[in-house]
Symmetry: C2
Subunit: 336 residues, 2 copies
DNA sequence: CTGAAAGCGCTTACAG
DNA sequence: CTGAAAGCGCTTACAG
């Protein structure tokens, strides 16, 4: 089964390959090619089942109609959902998506960026690791369209789409206060990424305004550790702070570990402790009791980030840096 | 920032582009290029930060060092985990993976195959939809390496890696029987795919051997429906069959819907009903009580399928069709 | 209205 | 040991 090329069509249709190329690319009209010729070329292409070679066309034009999507972990529900929507959106505008996972490892991230550059992707959507700022700056210098999602760097001028982390956390904490909780803890990781800091600040500010902030109620867990040791740390922390009556988990995997810790501790939710976690997850809907969450607007984030990327791709020079904050949604379930 | 090409290196190193190409591709020795020249070329390449253009090399050689991975839904935990391992394995042998999701839609699947063909992937790993048999046959005729995973077609000669669905289901059902359950139901979907039929057969055979099979205890749900209506159907079925004392869910999303149904029905697990589900999921570990599952050996499936694909890619002619059955793992938790 | 030709960045058979 | 040249399948400026 030989590969059908533009030349085969030209031969069969008895026209030049330029003419075929124009017709195939829908430029027939513009090039004033006669309708009869256009039709003939199309028929021959159809008959031979011609499929243009993306590779040849990429080499010639320098365009690949592909974008790179670098997420933290494609097997995490949040990123998987995000990837799914981005893939669909990209397909609508006839773009291909290359996904990859960083595991929050900075060296890996840099490798992935290099590898995507080499594949000549036309744009990047990235959930950056903590030290990726220089790499991102490099991409910007190379005039590559970039949109960051989920998190970003405070002082870097680059478009990003993130949840309003401060507001989400602030609202959730206020809700806990309104339910009469007074000893409200927070569980964070040690990544120090801006989105995590903002979540923590929202929590702290709400408590400070109410005059009940206590800095001993913050627990920080290593990111690169397994679930078991996270659970152990949480158990230890709560056994040493028996008077805590509510907790805000700043990421879904922290919440999931927390629930297992509370099971070991035989805590009754919400009687012994009220719980709210960031990022919705099947398990939160299904837990007994069901767990309240601050859900990220995944669909909106995905759609908006593709849109910002396209803006940059079509009009890189006079394209403004856009910082989009999407509001999260506080979903109240039985755990408060 | 101009793209550095092989020609720039040739100029700077004062050799021909052929020589550069040989050195870059590690064929310097074989082509008997002098060590001094090799070193010089490497140094210049390093200095200019030369990155070979995959696109040009693909066009020339016809190879893309990429494989296509078509799964049902990348946002489903099972497939996300699978994709993650396959991506890592592929990277080890310097291959790129294009993922895409079919949503179990046959037209979509065919489109995806076409689109991957057009991208010139060198091999396919596919979880086929029900009517994809002809498309797969076409790929085989085109001499494209193909490995099916998770499911396959009974009469088609194509390598595949699947769980031993019959055995998993049979063992789980026997376990329920050994715990004294007698009215054991099964919840399946209507896809009619072979893996689902085998799971059901394992269930039925175990019960028939024990002389307690009852064909009224089988519930079939539409695949293309939302979670709500699945839950409703399950509620209806179990309210009409109050004497059922155990149930086997043949896929994780069926199990998840089932747990929500039982909550509505105020069933106590395992007192009122014992539960085992296919495919492990965070929610099953975290549910109160924890839910027993037949876990797929995801890592093994992923590794084996890449390996079979590579066998085909390197040696297509005399490569045997391999049918690999991986044993599932029955994980007993509190729900039985 | 249509065609001949250059060139994207590589690889590789061939010649010396 | 090394170089000149053809060619992968396209696109597009140019000529007529």
């Amino acid at each position: 089964m030989k590969k059908i090329t533009i030349r085969d069509i030209a031969n069969q249709a008895e026209v030049s390959i330029s003419t075929v190329s124009f017709v195939i690319n829908g430029k027939g009209e513009k090039m004033a090619i006669s309708p009869a010729v256009i039709k003939k070329v199309q028929q021959v292409a159809q008959k031979l089942q011609y499929k243009p070679s993306m590779i040849a066309s990429s080499l010639r034009t320098g365009k690949t109609r592909s974008i790179g999507l670098i997420v933290e972990d494609i097997s995490n529900q949040f990123f998987a959902d995000l990837a799914r929507v981005i893939e669909d959106e990209a397909r609508n505008i006839d773009y291909r998506v290359f996904y990859c996972s960083t595991s929050d490892n900075n060296d890996r991230s840099e490798e992935l960026v290099q590898s995507l550059l080499q594949a000549n992707v036309e744009g990047f959507i990235i959930t950056p690791t903590k030290n990726l700022e220089k790499t991102i700056t490099m991409l910007l210098k190379m005039q590559k369209p970039v949109v960051l999602i989920d998190r970003h760097f405070a002082n870097q001028k680059v478009s990003h789409v993130v949840m309003d982390n401060y507001e989400g956390s602030y609202a959730a904490t206020q809700f806990l206060i309104s339910k009469g909780r007074r000893n409200i803890a927070v569980v964070n990781n040690k990544s120090g990424m801006i989105q995590m800091k903002l979540r923590e600040k929202g929590y702290a500010d709400a408590l400070k305004e109410a005059g009940i902030y206590n800095n001993e109620y913050s627990l920080y867990l290593d990111y690169n550790t397994n679930e078991e040791s996270r659970i152990d740390s949480i158990i230890k922390f709560f056994s040493e702070n028996r008077n805590i009556d509510a907790v805000l988990f700043l990421a879904n995997y922290l919440g999931l570990a927390g629930l297992q810790a509370f099971r070991s501790l035989k805590y009754i939710i919400p009687d012994d402790i009220a719980v709210i976690s960031f990022d919705d997850h099947d398990s939160f809907k299904l837990h007994t009791p069901t767990i309240s969450v601050i859900a990220q607007p995944i669909e909106e984030i995905a759609v908006k980030s593709i849109q910002l990327l396209m803006d940059q791709m079509t009009n890189l020079e006079n394209c403004k840096i856009q910082k989009v904050l999407q509001k999260g949604k506080l979903i109240i379930r039985e755990s408060v």
